[in-house]
Amino acid sequence: MDELMLDGNAVAGLLQEVFAVEMTTATGLCGGCGATNAIGALHVFRGAGVVLRCPHCDNALMKIVTDSGRVWIALSGMKTVELHA
């Protein structure tokens, strides 16, 4: 267990900035173990950017790095994202 770990709730603002909709209630399907989780329940690690990991298998689902005026998003670990209206 990592004390520096947060969860998806802590990056709700960043996610909404990137995706322009509320994302913590969206569900993501992990490409590693197949678990579905609310984005708010994903484990979040901050470094040069933000990494969101599957709480079941630690697979990196989403990586976001922001710079002034630019944003890089990698969704390589996530099979699908389901948004709820």
């Binding site: 947060l6 709730n9 709700a12 603002g13 322009a20 913590t24 329940a41």
Partner: protein, 248 residues
């Protein structure tokens, strides 16, 4: 990012401090007036942005402590000795000062009175903040939903919202304290970390299908969530929110 047409839904707003309330030796509530505030739901956050004279910016996410109430937004902030944002918020801000914030954001760790109960709210230290928003929203709505708030604090002096919780108790709300480091001489309550036995005593039973909200430092949240699942609660009914030492 902010300010473009597509992303205009989340913009930085100026918030003015109208009051600063000392909750405990390390915790303060800052009451803001945010003109044009569109309202929020209990459990939602705001992002706070501070800008130094040289342009350096620091940004943090804080849970909203207050129930929806016009343009008033309250944040309860714990002072972290090495926290560049929390030190400014707790030590420097005075009525009349302005900061930037945006929100409300989040929707996962949220409860609305219309969802009803029973509710099981479990907090470690300042993890009580979003749960207090729920307790206050419940009271404001006149809800009598069965609500049990379990609050773990280091000592009686460190219990955030102590007096208000005492006033709000009853009418379906039960508040249970556990004091983990030191207790008053006449203390008869819990004096240990929250565990499965304690949660079983407090209830509600898993068969009552309470909505669980657990908020605190990561090790606290992991331990409580694990204990609840061990007692037979459905993991899908337990929502968690972690805050870490990176809070600052």
């Amino acid at each position: 990012m902010a300010g473009t047409a597509v992303l205009g839904r989340l913009t930085w707003q100026v918030a003015e401090v109208v009051d600063v309330v000392t909750e405990t030796p390390r915790v303060k509530t800052i009451v803001f007036d945010v003109p044009g505030w569109a309202g929020h739901r209990a459990g939602q956050h705001v992002d706070v942005r501070l800008t130094a004279e040289d342009g350096y910016q620091a940004q943090r996410s804080y849970s909203i402590a207050s129930a929806p109430n016009g343009t008033r937004v309250e944040l309860t902030v714990e002072r972290l000795d090495d926290g560049e944002v929390s030190l400014y918020l707790t030590d420097e801000l005075r009525p009349g000062d302005q900061i930037e914030l945006r929100g409300p954001v989040g929707g996962y760790f949220v409860w609305e009175p219309s969802q009803g109960g029973p509710l099981l709210l479990v907090a470690g230290g300042s993890g009580v903040v979003p749960l207090m928003a729920m307790v206050r929203a419940r009271a404001a709505a006149g809800s009598h939903a069965d609500t049990r708030l379990v609050l773990s604090s280091r000592s009686w002096e460190n219990v955030i919202y102590r007096d208000e919780l005492e006033r709000l108790e009853g009418g379906g709300l039960r508040v249970v304290h556990t004091l983990t480091r030191s207790q008053p001489a006449d203390w008869t309550g819990y004096a240990r970390r929250i565990d499965a036995e304690m949660l079983a005593e407090i209830g509600p039973e898993p068969s009552e299908e309470p909505r669980g909200y657990v908020c605190g430092p990561t090790p606290f949240v992991e331990a409580v969530a694990e204990a609840l699942v061990q007692l037979g609660h459905d993991p899908r009914t337990i929502r968690t929110e972690r805050f870490g030492a990176t809070g600052g």
